[in-house]
Amino acid sequence: MKHIQTLSTRSLQESMKKGGCGECQTSCQSACKTSCTVGNQVCEQLKKN
C-alpha cells in the first residue's frame, strides 16, 4: 500500500481462539515490581512454536 504501512502484530481476535493457558509470567513480576505493562510480555505458547 502506498499511503499506509501496517506493522505486523499478533491479531487480538485470533488470540482469542487459542489463548488463556496461563503459562506466562505474572505482569508485575518480570522486572519492575511497580509496573502494569503486559504488552511487553512474551506468550509461552508462541515461544514454543
Partner: protein, 458 residues
C-alpha cells in the same frame, strides 16, 4: 476504537481492539480521523472536503486502502471480548508466582522505600527461616494446578541479608521439581551492597533474572539510596553491578538495572542514558509510587516534563540502536508479534490471585505492595488462604472493572493498572491512578513509535 497520534515525525494509527498498528501519510491520517468521527461519510464527501489540498486520485487511493484494512479486520474494529470471552469471577485461578520477602530488613535507607527499609508499615524486622520458605514453596506447588513454570522472587528488604536461606531454598526447589513435574524460575532483586563472587556465580547458575537497583547518576542515586549513616552507596555497588551484568550478558542471561525516578530527578532520561554509558544494556526505570504528601512524589504538574523525557530517551535509543550499541528499556519493550493473548491482556496484573507476597513469617498478601497492611492479610503458607472474599475482589480487578480503562487506548498493553497504586490514591483496588495512567499511555505511544522508526529503517 481508534487512537491516533503524531510523534517524532510519524503519523500513527492504532486500531485498538484488533491490536493493529498503521503508519500513515498526512492525508490518510486526516481521513481516518474524519471517518472515526462519522462512519457514514461517503468517499465523495471526503473527496469534496480535501480536493483543494490533494489530487482526487490520491484521496480515492487512500480511501480504498482504508476500506481494505477495514474489511481485513484491522481498522475500526470493536471490542468483541467483553461479553464473549471472560467471566472473570468464575474463572478458576491458580497461584503461579510468589514474592518471597526473605528479609524485612535492609542495609540501605532509601528515602522512598515502600517497604519502609524492610519494616513494611512499621512492622517488626526479621529474616525468613528455611522452614517458612520451604513451606512457601510447598504451598506454591500445591496451589499451582497444572501450571508447569512457577516463579519465585527473592525480595525484601534486601534479600542478600538472608543469603544462606536463599541458597537452601533454591536447592530445595530444584530437589522437588522432577517429582512434582514443575520448573522453578528464580529471580532476585538486590541493592548490591553484599554482592560477592560466590553470590554472582550461584545466581548465574540458578537465577532466571537478577534485578539490580540503581537510580542513575551518582548524585541522584546517592541522594535517594544512602546507607543509614547518610553516606551514598553508588561507589560501592557500581563495580559489582558492572561485573555481574557483564557475566550475565556473556552467558546470555537476563538481568535488569532497575531504578526509580522521583520528583527530584524529573530529567530521568539522563539517568537511563547514564546506565547505558556504564555499559549496562537491560534497563528499567519507574516512577516512584508514593503518597501525594511525600516531597519526592510525582506531581500532576510534573507530567509534561516527564513525557518529554520519554521522547528524549526514545530518540537516544533509536540513535544508539542504529549505531549498533542499542539497549532495551523495560517500558518500551513491546512484543508486537509474540505478545500475550487477549485474555492475558485483559485480566489485570494477577495480584491477589496468581501472584502473592509472603512475609518472613509466612503471612500471605495480595502482592509485595500490600505486605504489612493488615486489611489485606489473606492467610499464611501454613494454613492457606482464609480470606477468599479478598481474593474474589482481586479476581474481579481487570480492564473492564475500571471505568477509565474501557475508553483508554492503552488497555490491551496495560491490563488495567496497578491495584496497589489505586488503593494508595483512592482507597480502593479497582480504581485507576491518574498520574500513572498518563505516564503509561505516553510509554505505550513511545514504544510503538520506536517500533515504527525501526521498521522504517528496514
Amino acid at each position: 476504537m481508534i487512537h491516533q497520534y503524531q510523534n517524532n515525525g510519524f503519523n500513527i494509527v492504532l486500531d485498538v481492539d484488533s491490536g493493529s498498528i498503521h503508519l500513515v501519510d498526512g492525508l490518510s491520517y486526516q481521513l481516518i480521523a474524519d471517518l472515526d468521527k462519522d462512519r457514514t461519510l461517503s468517499d465523495d464527501t471526503l473527496v469534496g472536503e480535501y480536493e483543494e489540498k490533494y489530487p482526487e486520485s490520491e484521496i480515492r487511493e487512500s480511501l480504498s486502502e482504508i476500506h481494505s484494512l477495514e474489511k481485513a479486520g484491522q481498522l475500526f474494529t470493536e471490542d468483541i471480548y467483553k461479553n464473549a470471552v471472560i467471566d472473570f469471577k468464575a474463572r478458576p485461578t491458580v497461584v503461579k508466582a510468589l514474592c518471597l520477602n526473605v528479609a524485612h530488613d535492609c542495609n540501605l535507607a532509601c528515602k522512598y522505600c515502600f517497604a519502609d527499609e524492610g519494616s513494611y508499615n512499621g512492622g517488626p524486622k526479621g529474616l525468613m527461616s528455611y522452614e517458612v520458605g520451604k513451606q512457601a514453596l510447598d504451598f506454591l506447588v500445591a496451589h499451582s494446578g497444572h501450571r508447569h513454570n512457577l516463579e519465585v522472587d527473592f525480595f525484601g528488604g534486601e534479600p542478600l541479608m538472608d543469603w544462606a536461606v536463599v541458597r537452601k531454598l533454591v536447592a530445595y526447589g530444584r530437589s522437588i521439581e522432577k517429582e512434582k513435574d514443575k520448573h522453578f524460575r528464580f529471580t532476585i532483586t538486590t541493592n548490591g551492597v553484599l554482592l560477592n563472587d560466590e553470590i554472582m556465580d550461584f545466581c548465574n547458575r540458578e537465577m532466571d533474572n537478577v534485578v539490580m537497583s540503581l537510580d542513575g547518576r551518582k548524585e541522584v542515586h546517592d541522594h535517594m539510596r544512602p546507607f543509614p549513616s547518610g553516606k551514598g552507596s553508588y561507589d560501592l555497588i557500581i563495580p559489582k553491578f558492572q561485573k555481574f551484568a557483564a557475566q550475565r550478558k556473556a552467558l546470555g542471561l537476563q538481568y535488569y538495572i532497575r531504578g526509580t525516578y522521583t520528583h527530584y530527578n524529573l530529567d530521568f532520561a539522563q539517568d537511563v542514558i547514564h546506565y547505558a554509558d556504564l555499559g549496562f544494556d537491560q534497563l528499567s526505570m519507574e516512577p516512584v509510587v508514593a503518597p501525594q504528601s511525600a516531597d519526592y512524589a510525582i506531581r500532576p504538574e510534573d507530567i509534561p516534563v516527564l513525557k518529554e523525557q520519554y521522547d528524549i530517551l526514545a530518540k537516544e535509543m533509536i540513535r544508539r540502536q542504529k549505531e549498533g550499541r542499542g539497549f532495551t528499556f523495560f517500558h518500551f519493550m513491546i512484543d508486537l508479534t509474540g505478545g500475550p493473548c487477549v485474555y492475558k491482556r485483559l485480566s489485570g496484573c494477577g495480584s491477589g490471585t496468581e501472584y502473592l507476597g509472603v512475609t518472613p513469617w509466612g503471612d500471605l498478601y495480595p502482592c509485595h505492595q500490600f505486605v504489612g497492611n493488615q486489611k489485606f492479610l489473606l492467610g499464611s503458607v501454613f494454613d492457606g488462604i482464609r480470606r477468599t472474599d479478598i481474593v474474589d475482589e482481586f479476581k474481579c480487578c481487570n480492564v473492564y472493572s475500571r471505568k477509565e480503562c474501557s475508553s483508554c487506548f492503552a488497555r490491551y498493553y496495560c491490563s488495567g493498572g496497578c491495584a496497589a497504586n489505586s488503593y494508595n490514591f483512592h482507597g480502593r483496588i479497582d480504581d485507576v491512578y491518574e498520574i500513572g495512567c498518563e505516564l503509561e499511555r505516553k510509554r505505550v505511544e513511545t514504544a510503538i513509535m520506536i517500533k515504527a522508526a525501526l521498521a522504517k529503517e528496514n
